[in-house]
Symmetry: C2
Subunit: 704 residues, 2 copies
């Protein structure tokens, strides 16, 4: 690829990135797939796409992509982008996201504060509807069915710098998080903030877990309570942290100014009586009603997944404890195989259903849409992740012997079964612990593999592949046809071709993984108190490997803004609440497994649960009270800044005489002088008052 072919260029756009600054915050790439479309139609569509972009003021260049696809590289002229950034800030101010009115006229050109601020305006120019000044290109939507993806280009130099910096640091501080925000935008940055806070918070249960493991009873009440309290404190702290960061990054309430989703259906347009603007209106009541369908959905999911899980569980118990016929050794693996085969299909099906349901709920913005989807996904995750352990703890161990005996009696009376019965095997009370260990450890290890080892192998493979590919057909187009390919653009094109084949990054999957992990901790950690230290180590690596994953395995995410991790905080709260109940029940039942069949253990169970839940509720109330008292530094600062800003405007009152066009003026000094003139007839006036006092005092004296 060192060879330079000089031929016909299809644009005057200079396709190069500034190596020193890695400047690429004005470039977006449209990946156009040619494989399912006939040549004539493809030509028309590409032409129209370029026209749309041109109308939005964007420059474009078309290049050959990987496989049978085109890469349309879009670039905004500096002034257009700078003005878009300025207008975006004005919009922020209009919606009350920032308090200070941006200076300048409507045509002012400014530089984005960060790389992502420019890139976000570029994102808007490419994807917003034409009415809003964009080119209206959305992958897969309506006329752009052939558009596989629309993505910004990675800043590889900066990615590398970030990675090598963080791999040498024990923790990330605020300015490190600011840097992640500057590269990947607020939505991704909030995930890393959450992860960092979580890692630091994990130090406490790690230490208490190690102490509990070595010095306390196997399933310790003390450790369980300390974990519940820790969960509450951590979540309340994170709630404050979220507000704090969203103020620091000027994104609080940013959801309200977002543009409508393409798929949003409104019933009518109404003119707002106050702002005088047209508003697309979809009745709230209707939306709430549609949301309520989630309840039967959740119940159905619980029923389906619950039945499958319980069924498999039952078969497993049957084979291992009762059956002793042919192929027992083989059959024992059957349930696991069934589960492994069925579950992904069922889950995919249910997730598809959830997506359709969310679509039907018709949210105005992408944020709310994702939030609703998040909640549904959480329900599915919850059932698949925790139900097996819950079954072991609350059905298999306490009631297993009874059920098995009942089954033995039943089968032993059926003809043909007597010989197949296994010798009387008791319930395995250690199953709970081994299950928790297996789930948490295997999950972390497979996580390591998936997110650290696999990407590294992929990286090597890709480098090799792209080298090999460099000499293949697609790349050879320019050579074979003599099309123009400048020396400067070789490097960029190689990168764009590579990234066009990657998957887009979904931060929700990573958050979901953390939420599931938090759930294991909140629900089951007393069973094996070494869980938190494992998570701590895993997450320290996870944070870095996730960054690596984004930069070498995914397209650069669109720099979307949010003001937190969204609906996941509700999921975390739910898990903490449930954790207070589940851990209490586990401690109560398994603290002393000898007493498991004692009726007293069972009738005191509700009392233990009641108390544990009130430890949870009480802690939550107190922590919230205390944190609200102490307040968030950022929140105070924002208020003060607002005040200071108004104070400067306030000075105009004093200096500006022309402002007094309203009402009459008062000369306060003159008024005061007049008032004192009224009062300053001291001789008569004071004599009169003195007379009154004397009269009253004399009178009261004579009375007493």
């Amino acid at each position: 690829m060192t060879e330079k072919t000089v031929g016909n260029d299809n644009s005057q756009l200079v396709l190069s990135l500034d190596e020193a600054t890695g400047q690429n915050d004005d470039v977006y790439v449209v990946h156009y797939d040619l494989s399912d479309i006939d040549t004539k139609k493809a030509k028309d569509e590409v032409e129209r796409l370029i026209q749309d972009c041109t109308k939005a003021g964007l420059q474009s260049a078309v290049r050959v992509g990987p496989e049978c696809s085109l890469l349309i590289i879009l670039k905004a002229p500096r002034d257009l982008l700078g003005n878009a950034v300025h207008r975006s800030r004005i919009k922020d101010w209009l919606y009350g996201i920032i308090d200070a009115r941006p200076k300048g006229s409507y045509d002012t050109v400014v530089d984005g504060e960060t790389e992502t601020e420019n890139l976000r305006s570029m994102f808007h120019l490419v994807t917003w509807k034409k009415e809003l000044g964009g080119a209206g290109i959305m992958p897969g939507y309506r006329q752009w069915k052939q558009v596989r993806s629309v993505f910004p280009v990675h800043n590889r130099a900066r990615n590398r710098a970030l990675l090598s910096k963080f791999s040498r640091q024990a923790t990330l501080n605020r300015s490190d998080l600011d840097e992640i925000r500057a590269v990947y935008g607020e939505k991704v940055a909030f995930y890393f903030c959450f992860l960092q806070s979580y890692i630091i918070a994990l130090v406490f249960p790690s230490i208490s877990g190690i102490l509990a493991y070595f010095f306390l009873h196997r399933v310790s009440l003390l450790y369980a309570i300390s974990t519940v309290i820790w969960c509450v404190v951590f979540l309340e702290y994170w709630r404050m942290e979220e507000i704090s960061l969203s103020l620091r990054w000027n994104v609080q309430g940013v959801g309200s100014l977002k543009v409508n989703r393409r798929e949003y259906v409104y019933e009518k347009e109404i003119q707002d009586p106050i702002t005088g603007e047209k508003q697309q209106y979809f009745p709230k009541r209707k939306q709430v009603a549609r949301q309520l369908i989630s309840i039967p959905f959740a119940l159905a999911a619980l029923a389906v997944l619950g039945t499958v899980t319980t069924g498999v569980f039952g078969i497993e118990v049957f084979i291992s404890h009762i059956y002793d016929g042919k192929y027992k050794a083989w059959l024992e693996y059957m349930p696991t195989v069934i589960l492994a085969l069925c579950l992904p299909y069922i889950r995919d099906f249910l997730e598809g259903l959830a997506t359709q349901l969310t679509e039907y709920e018709n949210w105005r913005t992408q944020d709310r849409h994702e939030m609703s989807q998040t909640q549904k996904v959480f329900i599915l995750t919850f059932i698949t992740s925790y139900l097996p352990v819950l079954l072991s703890a609350f059905v298999y161990i306490p009631f297993g012997d009874g059920i098995i005996n009942w089954a033995r009696v039943y089968f032993s009376s059926s003809p043909g079964w007597e010989k197949l019965l296994a010798p009387d095997i008791h319930v395995d009370t250690s199953r709970l612990q081994s299950e928790v260990i297996a789930l948490t450890v295997t999950e972390q290890i497979s996580g390591f593999g998936e997110e650290l080892i696999l990407p590294l192998i992929k990286l090597r493979a890709q480098t090799w592949y792209s080298n090999w590919r460099g000499t293949n057909r697609g790349f050879n187009y320019s050579r074979s046809t003599g099309a123009y390919e400048s020396a400067a653009e070789v490097k960029l094109l190689r990168q764009v071709r590579d990234e066009s084949q990657r998957e887009p990054y979904s931060v929700h999957e990573d958050i979901q993984q953390m939420v599931t992990q938090f759930g294991y901790l909140a629900l089951f950690s007393p069973v094996w108190p070494l869980v938190p230290i494992g998570f701590l180590i895993n997450n320290w690596v996870e944070l870095r490997s996730d960054l690596l994953k984004i930069s070498i395995d995914h397209q650069r995410p669109d720099p979307v803004r949010t003001d937190g991790i969204g609906a996941w905080i509700d999921s975390l709260n739910f898990l903490t609440w449930l954790g207070s109940i589940v851990t209490a029940a586990i401690v109560h039942l398994f603290h002393d497994t000898e007493k498991l069949n004692d009726p007293k253990t069972w009738w005191t169970l509700p009392i233990t649960i009641f108390m544990a839940e009130h430890v949870y509720l009480g802690t939550k109330y107190l922590v919230r009270l205390a944190l609200e008292q102490l307040g968030s530094a950022e929140l105070r600062q924002k208020k003060l800044h607002e005040y200071a800003h108004r104070k400067t405007v306030f000075k105009e009152y004093i200096n500006d005489d022309t402002a007094g066009t309203v009402g009459t003026h008062a000369n306060i000094e003159k008024i005061k002088q007049e008032s004192s003139k009224l009062a300053e007839k001291p001789p008569e006036r004071l004599r009169d008052i003195d007379a009154m006092i004397e009269y009253l005092k004399g009178d009261s004296a004579s009375k007493s």
Copy 2:
């Protein structure tokens, strides 16, 4: 008093109220007590007081008050007051209470929107520190020990109009509440809003209560659950209503701009780095630490009041169930007498302690101070009001027989006691119901008496008394000394003299009464489901009689602003939560009193409580979710107004070319033209793209 004496006036102030408009929003009265001070000192002090007022620009007139006291009537010149109102609005804007910057210069004079807005500025002119432009007169504080009260004058015509209007209306609507706000200020108006919402809400439990009484079992689970859900829905609704009203009245967050309490002690003054202003600083951590003392206080109060109540309860049971000696008939009344004698003293003592504690907590503003005091008073009220019923329900009825038997056995073995033992009397299981009926009914009836009958009698008596008094010494001063008293001021002076002898109105006492009532409903209504209908009728009258009480029995309250009913909402939430537990327990135990001694009843009790509490928690979560979804109309309006306001400023961007002093300008049209010029080399460019597509398509076709 029709006689007119023309003599020496001690001011040129015209002491008259405009009868037509009842205009008195620029008048404040200082009631100065002469009885405990010697004549010389009194003269000096009064002189200094008048000087201070004059310095603040106020006009003053001194008149003889009732008994041995002076009335110093203060009046603000119209321009001074109008400017104070304007400056107060500017302050609101500075602190972000209102969004639109008030127009005009710093010296602009405006009219208050309502009577109270003027009166509030008057209040500030009289009571604020001299540094803030006030006269610094606070009753009883430091040098003003002799000042008994500082109060505004009632607008009697308007009071009468309000009363006669409301007595003919079934419910108060928003504009009625606006009127109460205009006369008495936001703090008082919020109480009436709460009461009105509560009355309307009471219709539901009244009807369900009547139905339950006639058609359901005596202590019905269905009714109990419906009441818990009703409590939650009502409180969540009120929470929204509070926000709604505080936006309507422009008072949201008004706590932050309030001036420091006189008693506030700061550790140091620090200069704020952002606003550059001096801030009085008292460490938050210290304050939180001091607040924590409330916990031992609450425990001590519980111990003391609990011991007294339980002791009295025990003696009562002992005498009525065990003792059968001499004076039994007399002794039976003893406990009630003891309680009636002791309780007020103990409560006063504890309230005094609470006040000192709140003082020690050193709150910056009066609002926070009152809030903290409110919480402590609630604890005391809670113990004294509900503990006896709780004791009956959960100790006396279930365990009474056992305890009594044990006591019988104990005493029958003691010599000298055998003969004094009563025949074996069983626990009176109907005691709970009769106690609830007695408490709720007597409380309402005594409320009627105290708040409706008594004020009416007082009104008649006062009219007679003031007529008689009109011919007495104090009023005769002018006649006896020949001091000036103009015909116009006779009526005002009579009113001022009357009002100076009244108590100031404390809205907290009225709210507390309602909270206590709500508590009976939330905790015990399943015992006797007619409780709510009684409350409904009582409260309908209560609302009107409270208005009457303020106007004929109290001084006009200072027009203070708040953004809700303060910490009482926490008390109400606490009662609702506790109610879910207590009603569940009551229903569980007394649904079928036959089964009270069945162990099964007792071991299933925690399960019932657990479930009831989760009905509470679940309802609360869902209602909050739903209400947040639907949102408050006022909140949306505020946001839209803010947006509309900014939108008008936004127009300046487009019209104003001079504003563009920042950054460079972009000519978007020109940029777009240039971009299309780049693109518009159609022949070559499109040919090149077509070639690419053909190359790729042909290639992929040959491959397949």
